[in-house]
């Protein structure tokens, strides 16, 4: 199943998302929807990085499931 995740996974995901947002000063909305249209260099770097990493991890998890709820 796509998007299956157990409670530990939710905790890790939430923590990483929160820490990442704080460190990079923005999220999908801040950097993606507001930064990209302003052609802010920081936002383009940030969105490129998190999109690549997210696609990489989600693809890995899709093919080799881990932290799945039973």
């Amino acid at each position: 199943m796509v998007g299956n995740l157990d409670i530990v996974g939710f905790g890790i995901a939430g923590y990483l998302t929160g820490a990442g947002t704080k460190l990079s000063n923005g999220c999908t909305s801040g950097h993606g929807v507001c930064g990209l249209p302003r052609f802010a260099i920081r936002s383009w770097v940030s969105v490129g990085t998190f999109l690549l990493v997210a696609i990489g991890l989600a693809t890995l998890k899709y093919h080799e499931p881990f932290l799945d709820a039973t």
């Binding site: 939430g14 990483l16 990493v53």
Partner: protein, 138 residues
């Protein structure tokens, strides 16, 4: 508590609430509340779903137009004293490291902060307590 605030601050709260509601409606229609939708977009495989690319594409494309008009033609916001535009242009390690962490969390959970908080009314232990709590800690 709200009665102790200045009139201007009250107006700010109302504006913040209205724009927040509009944002949440947009997220909902776009499918950003459904974790399976996000993961389906991020996970490249047999049932890859590219539709969120159009969501982001339209959001960015439309904002390119509106931000251009606002910054170059209007210059003054309707409901605030002045525009607040970040001027920071330096790409540092902190930005890249933070973005990478964000990507890990997003790719794992399929939720970014906006939709995650918007899901609070549809209470679930996983999202509303564990995910949101860890988000706040992070």
């Amino acid at each position: 508590m709200i009665i102790f605030l200045e009139k201007k601050d009250k107006l700010d709260i109302v504006i913040g609430f209205v724009t927040g509601v509009i944002f949440a409606i947009g997220l909902g229609f776009g499918g950003m509340f459904r974790r399976s939708k996000i993961i389906g977009f991020l996970a490249l495989g047999n049932d890859w779903d590219p539709s969120l690319m159009f969501l982001l594409g339209f959001a960015v494309g439309l904002n390119m137009l509106t931000f251009y008009i606002i910054q170059n033609k209007i210059k003054k916001p309707l409901l605030a004293a002045k525009l607040q535009i970040p001027a920071n242009k330096t790409v540092d390690f902190r930005l890249i490291f933070g973005s990478a962490l964000f990507g890990l969390g997003w790719g794992l959970g399929g939720l970014c902060p906006g939709p995650g908080m918007s899901l609070l009314p549809i209470f679930s232990i996983e999202v509303s307590i564990v995910w949101l709590g860890c988000l706040a800690i992070g």
